[in-house]
Symmetry: C2
Subunit: 453 residues, 2 copies
């Protein structure tokens, strides 16, 4: 088996429980707080927008949480996802390093997102919800929830960040194929959207704005709940099937990673691959864990670790995280899924504890890596995932320079089939690396909420 | 294992030889003839456009032809492809039938086409060719050859049928990502293209025209050969890995197909899945084998079995096949890969021998099947593949009506990620089922070449 290119687990070895890092952290993640009072919130405060089971998972410190059988059954459509040895890339780089990647692009929607979408749709269905509202950046999350909704007979409404809505009409078509509706955000359908449109009629939108719209819809309709595709603890939890599978598959390949890499937008694909390895690291194992983000939205590398709102409209609970400020507006790059002002509180906490590293790259150097990867391995990656590829290639080149035969594992969080305009723009030279706006960051950070008591 | 959803073969069970149906046919396929003299052609006649090894395979009657190890190594990037049991679709249809599909959409270019593209690129590289020219309809073949060319350092030029070029800009972007160049056909770059443009400036193009352009380029440049993505014997040969794998995987699933289904454009994905089963059928096994084509381009169901040109420009050898006439211009439907006036001579011969059935569907009923499939199984199929899905669903419904627990196996030849405009058009009601033009067919058939001697 160790000479294979792809490592598949049998379906009966798909994880039966999610791994909850909260059980193993040396200090707990700071709790969420009420956006008005700034008091620590109770489960009841979240009940208008999330189902009970999801709220329990959000607050849980149990190490293992059983995956319901109907969720596992649906995930068998594509899981366990393959672990792949990038042999051709290794050869082209002429590196002594071994490069492995977990291919989450094999899912119906083309990314890791269905891992949590199916779970969230299941719990909502169980609790009698009829309709889910959500936001989406690049469209990966929206199409994942559309897919999951179609399997459980739930109506799904997606607010899609306008810059991506215009760049990626076929993501919208995919959501509609799964039976969901999709509108550009900011939209005139919500008070939050109308307020932004009044102040900035040409707004490109942002994940923060789209979240405000989706939460508003959920809070104002009895049959509707909200579903979030990243950031929160339960989302990170649902993604841990990735890392659990990877560990079994790395054992099949008779290899152990020295470096574990994933891109970070809201943090969930990173958490999915990395948290099982963070657990090992806490137990004393030597492994470097690297989160990779865009230089245009450098949450972990330039953000402040502070309580902040998850959305621009300041409707969500306050969570302690690395943030650029809820009003920070990232430029309209092609990595829509990484254009978020904050970071998963649990990932932020892991960073503060020194259990991970973070680095940032400009988009053109990521596209160069993506094209090199596509021409070696055949798979055209999502622009988001290309950040992880850039870091993996750089680590492999470092190994070459240092003469070290390390093992590198990265998460290929999704394919780029719906992102080809980005590649067209890259080849035509139209893609820019926007200059980072230090003043805008400084201003957005002055706006962080003050915590009382 | 029999309770699984997906059946994976280990990489070392990937076929080591291609299966050549010519060895088992009760009567031989009529040989190709020279377009000028109409004499039976010799291998030398094909030498200007194909490499020697490919010409040998085209004419071979050996039952098994070894797959070169470098080809197998590259195919391990995605092969063996999964066999999937469509359990959710079965449930929704409430049918006693078992439905299996072979998922060729997992390849880098998203269809079965790389199976032959890699082999053809390998043989050309071995014989010192620097540049490959080809045509593409929907873009599946062009992107597959672009991918294969990038792996072997070959320059690739693709003539893309204009209607698809305009419908599918992201297929072009995919080819460019793999390093190929792609122009709309008819183009001003060739005499064949200029002649069409002079007569029909608004021509939508057709596979027949694009073939003329690509062959012209190959014939006129010493460092250049032509590569064809379907129709010819060697292409059908290279695709037989599909059916060979499927047989092993059906055994893993402890099932045997009563019905084997694939869509037919040029015939290669059909041949790939079906020919190993045709062999069994010749040996006496009871199995129905069904080719499914668009009602707008009904080669097998309404064409004439006769010698005809493979292209509109009348440059190619004459082959005996089911044809609508080389000048027949199919309407611009969304199944670009099925818009071909002819059919693989070997598939045509199998049809004449009564070893297969053929049927045709309108595109809207195929899209309805595609959406039902996507909402059940998560995978959005290529419009071409939706023809096979339509037939599989209809067979499953027949089983329900007749109370028969048959086993149905179809080829999901590709995914539809680059065909989302077609889905958008379908949902908006813009998709039409064009009325078949009987007079145009009759006229095109008057133009069939006369065979001397």
């Amino acid at each position: 088996m160790s000479e294979s290119t792809k490592y598949f687990l049998p379906e009966d070895q798909m994880p039966k429980a999610w791994y909850n890092l909260a059980a193993d952290l040396p200090t707990p993640v700071p709790p969420p707080r009420h956006p008005g009072t700034t008091e620590i919130i109770s489960p009841d405060d979240l009940a208008p927008i999330f189902p009970r089971a999801v709220i329990e998972q959000e607050m849980s410190t149990e190490r293992w949480i059983d995956i319901p059988e109907p969720v596992r059954e649906i995930c068998r459509l594509w899981r366990p996802s393959p672990l792949v040895r990038a042999r051709r890339l290794e050869k082209i780089l002429d590196t002594p390093a071994k490069i492995f990647f977990k291919n989450e692009g094999v899912s119906p929607a083309g990314s890791h997102k269905p891992n949590t979408a199916v779970a969230q749709a299941f719990y909502n269905k169980e609790e009698g919800v009829k309709h889910l509202s959500t936001e989406t950046g690049a469209g990966q999350w929206g199409s994942s929830l559309a897919f999951a909704g179609s399997l459980f007979g739930l109506e799904v409404s997606v607010f899609m960040v306008k810059v991506s809505y215009n760049q990626k009409p076929y993501r919208r078509a995919l959501m509609e194929t799964y039976g969901a509706t999709c509108v550009a955000s900011p939209s005139p359908q919500t008070a939050a959207g109308r307020a932004i449109l009044a102040a900035h009629p040409d707004s490109n939108g942002s994940l923060g704005i789209a979240i405000s719209e989706a939460v508003e819809v959920a809070a104002s309709r009895d049959d509707t709940k909200y579903a979030l595709g990243s950031v929160l603890n339960h989302v990170c939890l649902h993604q841990t099937v990735i890392g659990q599978e990877a560990m079994l598959q790395m054992a099949m390949a008779e290899a152990e990673p020295d470096v574990v890499i994933a891109c970070t937008g809201g943090g969930s694909n990173f958490a999915g691959l990395a948290f099982p390895y963070v657990r090992e690291k806490i137990k004393g194992r030597s492994v470097r864990i690297i989160g990779v983000e865009p230089s245009s939205c450098p949450t972990l590398t330039r953000g402040q670790y502070a309580y902040d709102f998850g959305d621009t409209g300041k409707l969500t609970p306050l969570v302690k995280m690395h943030t650029l400020g809820a009003t920070f507006m990232p430029p309209g790059t092609h990595s829509g899924g990484l254009r978020y002002h904050g970071m998963a509180p649990m990932v932020s906490h892991v960073k503060e504890l020194g259990l991970m590293e973070a680095r940032s790259y400009h988009q053109t150097e990521c596209f160069a890596a993506a094209v090199q990867f596509a021409r070696a391995e055949g798979i055209v990656p999502a622009p988001e995932s290309s950040h992880a590829i850039r870091a993996a290639i750089d680590e492999a080149l470092r190994c070459k320079a240092e003469g070290k035969a390390e093992t590198i594992l990265f998460n290929l969080s999704g394919h780029g089939h719906f992102d080809m305009q980005a590649y067209t723009d890259y080849f035509s030279g139209k893609l820019q690396d926007p200059e980072f706006d230090d003043a805008a960051l400084a201003e957005a950070l002055t706006d962080l909420p003050e915590i009382k008591g």
